[in-house]
Amino acid sequence: MKLIIATIKPFKLEEVRRALTAVGVRGMMVTEIKGFGSQSGHTEIYRGAEYAVNFVPKIKLEIVVPDTMADQVTDTIATAARTAKIGDGKIFVLDVAAALRVRTGETDDDAL
């Protein structure tokens, strides 16, 4: 199994979720994060003093899928999340050693 970690623009969440559901993803974990990357770096002014805003709001998705689905899921996210503007985000893939569904005790691919 693979853990796919994707960081996307917040307003793309719903679109990505729908696209993923369409290809058969049945679960994921969504976290509100701050992203640091090439997109960042504008300065703001608060009460007359400048300061750099280095972080931008992002959404992080974590999805565990069977090995066979990993590429398709990656592609789906990439397609749905793309705006072609800076800051679209990254996708990382990691190996997962084991999975368990708490409710039923099913393991690995059955747990997803």
Partner: protein
């Protein structure tokens, strides 16, 4: 409540004793005697104005709670509730008679009033020959107390996020019990600033606002800036955590200010007086608007984006600026006086930062700088004002309050310490000093 028999009975009986004048003949008639009417008007006006000024305590609380960082919010709420409560009790125990000794009761005539508990008239004015030309002592006490508390509220904003609770409250006790009343007696108690210098300060640009500002400035200098505010030669902004609260606080203050300035007319017993109060309401409002608009336009021009916190400060700046003379100006001059106040704030906030004086909510620009400006602006609108009277009084009051405050802060620093530890400041006062977070929940579940 509606228990007409008892209450009316008592009231009428007591009044009958006290007020023989102009009695009506019909037995159950409750038409007020002619002589009472002006007294009722003015007293009730004080009560209404007084509750509006009370409401300013909530305004300061919300403004400050919105402009500190989240980790210090509970502490800021605590300080504000506590400071008001202490001010209320101290003004009763010491302040009121120190400020208004009345004729012949001064310890040092014109300089130091009387030390005694405040006392209200007896119930129903029984057995007293009350002077009906002014208002009830109760309403006056209630109204004046709120001004005293305002002074303390100003200090809490500047020193937020780093000062310890109890030394701060101790300072408040001395400020509201002694420092404020003594200097206020010089003008409003009929002391030497009033009698000798002809100082004019209608509702307290100097007597209230700059006093709070001087006390705050002394504190800010002795306490030092928040950790990390000025580092590597740069200013590091620490944005307020909750701007809706700050905006609500500003609206509350704006509302309360109608009582603050309007009530300072002190009489509502004639058409002339009530018309004057109306002028004051209209001028107060337009000065705030002028301040806000100026800050809006200036921050747009200077920084390319308008700054809400400056606009809020701008409205308050307008209010402070008009406070020394809200009656005489026309609507046009009032707007301009307020507008200048708004401009002062926009420039003073970064100026203080350049001096590394860390004023969390902008209280020094708003209350001290605009307090001075407002006191000087009287020269332009009230022909009775003199340059000597205004300038000297600003200086005298400023020196007195700054020196006393600085001495007190230094003493507190020496004895108990006034600043939380570095670690506590980083953790935040809410967790470190109170063990209570303002928004404690982590998970929504």
């Amino acid at each position: 409540m509606k228990n007409q028999i008892r209450t009316a009975g008592v009231a009428t009986a007591l009044c009958a004793l006290a007020l023989p004048a102009l009695a009506q003949d019909a037995a159950p008639d409750t038409t007020p005697p002619m002589a009472d009417i002006g007294y009722i008007f003015t007293t009730f006006m004080f009560l209404v104005a007084g509750f509006l000024v009370f409401w300013m305590a909530a305004g300061f609380t919300m403004l400050e709670a919105g402009l500190v960082r989240q980790k210090n919010t509970t502490m800021q709420l605590m300080k504000n509730v506590a400071l008001f409560s202490f001010a209320a009790v101290l003004y009763y125990l010491v302040g009121y008679n120190l400020m208004y000794p009345g004729d012949g009761n001064w310890i040092v005539e014109g300089w130091i009033g009387a030390f005694s508990l405040a006392a209200l008239e007896p119930v129903g004015l029984a057995d007293t020959a009350t002077d009906l030309t002014y208002a009830s002592v109760g309403s006056d006490f209630f109204f004046q107390l709120m001004f005293c508390a305002t002074t303390a509220s100003i200090v809490s904003g500047t020193l937020a996020e780093r000062i310890k609770l109890w030394p701060f409250l101790f300072f408040v006790i001395v400020l509201t019990g002694v420092i404020y009343p003594i200097q206020a007696s010089w003008k409003w108690g009929g002391g030497y600033l009033d009698a000798q210098l002809g100082f004019l300060d209608f509702a307290g640009s100097t007597v209230v606002h700059s006093v709070g500002g001087w006390a705050a400035l002394a504190g800010a200098l002795i306490l030092g800036p928040r950790l990390g505010k000025y580092k590597d030669g740069r200013v590091h902004p620490m944005p307020g955590a909750n701007l809706p609260l700050a905006t609500l606080g500003t609206f509350i203050l704006w509302l309360g200010w109608f009582g603050f300035n309007g009530g300072s007319q002190l009489y509502m017993d004639t058409a002339g007086n009530v018309a004057d109060i109306s002028r004051i309401f209209a001028n107060t409002n337009t000065a705030a608007a002028g301040g806000a608009i100026t800050a809006l336009i200036l921050t747009q021009l200077l920084y390319g984006k308008p700054d809400l916190t400056m606009v809020l400060n701008g409205a308050l700046a307008g209010l402070v600026s008009i406070t020394a003379e809200p009656l005489m100006p026309t609507l046009g001059s009032a707007t301009l006086i307020g507008a200048v106040g708004g401009a002062i704030v926009v420039f003073a906030v970064p100026f203080l930062d350049r001096l590394r004086i860390d004023d969390v909510v902008g209280a020094i620009p708003v209350h001290l700088f605009c307090g001075i400006w407002g006191t000087l602006a009287v020269l332009a609108t009230n022909p009775d004002a003199t340059v000597t009277g205004q300038v000297l009084s600003i200086v005298i009051v400023g020196a007195f309050v700054f020196v006393c405050s600085a001495a007190l802060w230094l003493a507190l620093r020496a004895v108990t310490g006034i600043r939380v530890s570095e670690e506590d400041e980083i953790t935040g006062l809410d967790v470190a000093e109170l063990g209570m977070e303002s928004y404690p929940e982590f998970s929504k579940g």
